[in-house]
Symmetry: C2
Subunit: 338 residues, 2 copies
Amino acid sequence: MAGVLVSQRVADAYGEHILEISRRCSRPLDVVVSGPSAPLSANVCNALEIAFYSRDVWEGCDKTFINPETRAFFTAVDAAPKLRWLQVTSAGADLPIYQPSLERGVRVTTSSGANAEPMAQTVTWAVLSLARATAHWMAGQRRREWSPLISPDLPRDLRGQNAVIIGTGPVGQSIARLLRTLGLNTIGIRRTPAPAEQFDRVTTYERIDDVLPHAQWLVIACPLTETTQGLIDARRIGLLPPDAHVINVARGEILDEAALIDALTQQRLAGAYLDVFAVEPLPTESPLWAMPNVIITPHNCSASAGNSGRGVDIFLHNLENFLSGRPLENEVDRPDTA
Amino acid sequence: MAGVLVSQRVADAYGEHILEISRRCSRPLDVVVSGPSAPLSANVCNALEIAFYSRDVWEGCDKTFINPETRAFFTAVDAAPKLRWLQVTSAGADLPIYQPSLERGVRVTTSSGANAEPMAQTVTWAVLSLARATAHWMAGQRRREWSPLISPDLPRDLRGQNAVIIGTGPVGQSIARLLRTLGLNTIGIRRTPAPAEQFDRVTTYERIDDVLPHAQWLVIACPLTETTQGLIDARRIGLLPPDAHVINVARGEILDEAALIDALTQQRLAGAYLDVFAVEPLPTESPLWAMPNVIITPHNCSASAGNSGRGVDIFLHNLENFLSGRPLENEVDRPDTA
């Protein structure tokens, strides 16, 4: 019988649901629990066809640390010769631990979308923090000082400002939807110039230089790919106007962090909000921690209690697709077909 | 010739525009400039029919301080026997300095709406600050500490929470529009149960006790009137669930501040965002300044460079209405007809 590898927590909460789907599709499945204490036998690994890397297994990992639960999970994944499908908890498929599966032709699907709304809410918080007089107000509160801003020190209206959002997937669209409600014009960057929901205008990666000079907000919300790695380099940062803010909630590798620090130091940019970094955890000695008009969150902008359930929903939906031979949602291009 | 009283700044920037409207309506007007240095002559005061109390005259005033510009302006207003219409810069008409005009039958119009969008944006910032993990993240940034939140410490999803918004005018509607985009259910409180744009549901002041137990967010955004003075008293604060936050961007007199402090201290409420207070400036010794999960701004949540222009737009639009005998926008009920 084909095996589906899941965490203890998923087995406890959704095991029955998984078996019900397998019965409905007349494809009997064995729910196999992954855990760091006891490695799976060769027999069990040989039967694995499906693996669900859920949020609870992932929690605690970062760019430099892989937790024992994740280590055990991918030891089993990589030892499963018949594995055909791996569902992962992240929105991107760029984590090194996924690469062996991708390279040997296992289908990989992401949880893109599960975290989109809380991510967009954190981005909106950061935009409002940087655009309204919040730093002034919060400093006043700490000093118990009543000092309302009056003209000519009033913040600019957000309405009418331009947000260039790189990535028009679920995260980019959620961000565009909220920023649009604040009155910003939303310009999306994607592979093709086809319209995308929530965007006033769309252009391609090839034409990004045309729109950067008009961006008050540059929001990076795309997957890390060959196209996007190093996309926002020193030259492109130089194309932004001095009143621009840079926001990165995608991957540190997309943005030249040293060039960003230079531009902020020389006041060629107004500020930044960063959730992701070249090196994570962000080293204690990074100047970014203490720069004015820079907001730092620890690769955590999506944090919300509902993400885990939304991730499971995507897996269960895809499980039914997989067992019925229907296309999978959020399937990533394999390296050889990209 | 009838006089229209304005500030020097309005006369300089919009004097020609005012005269153009008066010519278009065939109602010649004399633009009279108010200033703190030279009082107006009795002749000039006698001819005043219209007065525009613009944002630049008001700036610097608070509940306990009236600046010289405002003093001079209302000295002229109160000495103008033929004054028929006063346009004010605030969204409410409850300021004591407006009362003599209201009492003697001068028509008063407010600038309600001019500040609505920036106010709603500040409220949205405060909601996101209190609902997302921002206090944790900002404390981490100050300590240069990388500590992502993981379960079970994740913040709750905002989607599906209930916002009870008192006041369904331009400010209440702008707030409802943004909170709805974040996934909140919006319940409006108004005089009549007629539907209001941006609200999922509307109920009346008489029925407010029915909805308070279900509010995760109580937002006060209504005028100060006999109905709303003291509306959110200790008993009604007690009806809110312990996960509720209270937001007041209207007037301090609507909310029992001492009862709010008690509830926050005893953790019968989750937090608050306050822009207005019983006494303004908020006294240094108020415990509110330093309470956890309390955000304070100095009656300044609307601060935005575009408000002044939007206030002038409302005045110019109403000037044409006034000179043509059409109804005025934002006209307030006189005390005797309320």
